[in-house]
């Protein structure tokens, strides 16, 4: 399904946030390495899923791709244009309409004093895309219909809508400028189970119709697997594994991916009864002071089982390697990755 030429290339992306101390002489005392050397590419029309636990850097990656944060290192190339080389908002402006974002909490990002119609029309105005008022209204109402909203509600305010409806408003607004690429940051996490499926179906339908490309961020691996063509797994600012959705589940290689998969409950009592469970110990360490070498080494069950690599895990950063199915783990350095997978 992948076109040979990627729409988006991310190369060694870094986003470090400085932490300052002192009122007068502000000096940097530490850095949050929120995203610390992430590389992947996204092909036109595909969905790349991004999973990982709270604080691992998913949202920061999404924002840095869209240049909502200017990355502190690495490259983001969109349709052949190196966005990270463009200086200033003016230079970026023409590209912004092609790259949009959908957020987790639709309420927090919808202006409570604007009508739904104005909210959806705002990006059209910003980008000067619709000249006259009548055409604008028509376009807004068409977007509402497309996103499953009653166009008669165009003059209502966000608080008059349910969570699922607000998410539809957020989607309609993101679609207004006919973008090619959308970062969906936890678009279903705040919704009721029965509404999550509606929104996922809507996102899939829109993708088909409009040829959209998605980065779908969520901590729910089952949802990510359902909607994604390929999946990248993040841990503490790094991508540890990236593969197509089927092989990531059928043949996970990174010890963290394995633990993550085994931790996701499956709604079937018979399967739950007999499943293998890998229960990880401890918590995710802080991105201010991440562990040396492999960042997962403090919790990794595989490292304990493989004393021959235990030291390297502590001292050497494993590189993401492989062709279609890439993994960053010393277990796979020794032999051909494919042989070790079994």
């Amino acid at each position: 399904m992948s076109d040979p030429k990627p729409l988006l290339v991310v190369d060694d992306l870094k986003m470090h946030f400085p932490i300052y101390k002192g009122a007068l002489l502000r000096r940097e005392v530490a850095r949050v390495r929120a995203v610390d050397g992430v590389s992947f590419e996204i092909y036109p029309g595909e969905t790349l899923g991004l999973v990982g636990e709270s604080g691992c850097g998913k949202s920061t990656t999404g924002r840095a791709l869209l240049q909502l944060y200017r990355p502190t290192g690495g490259k983001v190339v969109f349709d052949g244009v190196e966005l990270t080389a463009l200086k200033g908002d003016k230079a970026l402006f023409p590209y912004r309409r092609h790259m949009q974002m959908i957020f987790q909490d639709p309420y927090a990002c919808l202006n409570p004093r604007m009508t739904v119609g104005d909210i959806i029309a705002e990006p059209l105005r910003t980008h000067g895309l619709t000249p006259d008022k009548g055409a604008m209204m028509e376009q807004v109402q068409a977007l509402m219909v497309r996103c499953g909203l009653n166009p008669q509600y165009v003059r209502r305010y966000p608080h008059e809508f349910s969570g699922g409806q607000r998410q539809r408003i957020g989607i309609a607004r993101a679609l207004a400028t006919s973008p090619r690429f959308i970062v969906c940051d936890e678009p279903i996490s705040a919704l009721d189970v029965s509404i999550q499926a509606q929104i996922m179906n809507l996102l899939q339908d829109l993708q088909q119709e409009m040829g959209l490309t998605y980065l779908f961020i969520a901590h729910d691996l089952a949802a990510v697997r359902h909607i994604s063509d390929r999946i990248a797994v993040m841990y503490l600012g790094k991508v540890v594994e990236i593969a197509d959705y089927a092989s990531l589940y059928a043949n996970p290689r990174h010890p963290y991916t394995r633990a993550l998969i085994s931790a996701v409950p499956i709604p079937d009592p018979e399967i739950e009864l007999t499943r293998e469970r890998i229960v990880l110990e401890g918590d995710v360490p802080s991105p201010i002071n991440p562990p040396t070498g492999c960042r997962f080494h403090t919790r990794c069950p595989a490292r304990r089982a493989h004393p021959e690599i235990a030291d390297r895990c502590v001292n050497e950063v494993p590189l993401l390697q492989g062709d279609d199915h890439r993994v960053a783990c010393h277990l796979y350095d020794i032999a051909e990755p494919r042989d070790r997978a079994a």
């Binding site: 636990e53 009721d192 179906n201 499956i266 709604p267």
Partner: protein, 334 residues
């Protein structure tokens, strides 16, 4: 029969006075919980799961809330009518509750050690030293690494998962007969959720505690619950042991819910069958079956009469639906 039943809730009704009118947050809910078993309660936001749990704990704020009807029998005694003093004793000793947000039960200004030992000194009349020993053991049991070092820290010095453990430790100190867990893992990451669920499983086995587990995650209850209660708009849609509930659901809402969640083990990408429409507004429920506006099987009668309770393959599995997806046993009177 009654001896192995720890808790029996019968026709519970809880009302709230609001600007929009009386909200029947819980409307005729009945279930039984056996000793050592786990009951899972699922349903959408606002369906009455927390209100049901809070009623058992006698934690309904009044006003605006009021338990308007029904009985809550704990070992045969009605928790609605026992004296407040007796209720307080039960709450510390025999029934404990854990919440989604651990800070609702932890005091941010007290050291963890104090919060744990206080419970023991108060309820079990232990000396300071005994209490300290027992509390430390409990922290160890719930998997706090290096508990003696962490013992004298404050809650904010713990991570979210660790705080959840401290709260569980506190809830289990008195080895309660009943543990009510209201979305205990919703705010946590899956690997931490797995740790906490493993812990609850383990303690159930060791202590023999009965558990009520509230969650919106059908996967979580699939691996934890013996029986399941599916709530919709304050009412019981379906009640069943876990296997038949997941395999042969009788209520269209249960069926829809199961089909609308993506499964990690799905082989190919299929389209989810979503439930159409929106969750109900409890102040504006339609007459008849509350699920009717979203139900594919609805007929005229669904808009007129609330469906009576019908059982499926024995009384352990029942649902309220005029057109159930399974063949009902003989019609029973509601």
């Amino acid at each position: 029969m009654s001896d192995d039943i720890l808790l029996s809730v019968e026709d519970l009704e809880v009302h709230f006075k609001t600007e929009g009118g009386i909200v029947k947050a819980v409307d005729g809910v009945s279930f039984q919980l056996k000793r050592g078993e786990t009951l899972g309660i699922v349903g959408e936001s606002g369906s009455g799961k927390s209100v049901t749990c809070n009623s058992i704990m006698r934690l309904i704020p009044s006003p605006p809330g009021r338990i308007a009807g029904g009985r809550i029998l704990f070992e045969g005694r009605d928790l609605r009518t026992i004296p407040q003093k007796e209720m307080l004793r039960l709450r510390g000793n025999e029934i404990s509750m854990i919440f989604q947000d651990p800070m609702t039960s932890l005091n941010p200004f007290l050291k963890v050690s104090r919060q744990l030992t206080e419970v023991l000194e108060l309820h079990q009349r232990m000396t300071g030293q005994q209490a300290r020993k027992v509390a430390l053991e409990m922290l160890e049991l719930v998997g706090i690494p290096d508990p003696s070092r962490r013992f004298d820290q404050y809650p904010h010095q713990f991570s979210g998962g660790m705080r959840q453990r401290v709260m569980i430790a506190m809830a289990l100190l008195c080895k309660p007969k009943l543990l009510i867990a209201d979305e205990p893992t919703t705010a946590l990451d899956v690997t931490i959720q797995a740790q906490i669920l493993e812990l609850i499983r383990d303690l159930k086995e060791k202590v023999g505690t009965s558990v009520i587990l509230v969650t919106h995650d059908l996967g979580v209850v699939a691996g934890m619950a013996d029986d399941l209660l599916v709530m919709y708009a304050g009412k019981v849609a379906e009640y069943a042991p876990a296997r038949p509930l997941f395999k042969t659901p009788a209520h269209p809402y249960t069926d829809g819910l199961l089909k609308s969640v993506p499964r990690l083990d799905e082989m190919e990408h299929t389209r989810l069958q979503s439930i159409r429409g929106l969750p109900p507004i409890v102040t504006k429920l339609p007459p008849g079956c509350p699920f009717r506006p979203r139900c594919d099987y609805a007929t005229e009668v669904c808009g007129q009469d609330y469906p009576a309770r019908r059982s499926f393959g024995g009384p352990a599995h029942f649902a309220h639906c005029h057109h159930p997806l399974q063949t009902p046993d003989e019609e029973v009177k509601a």
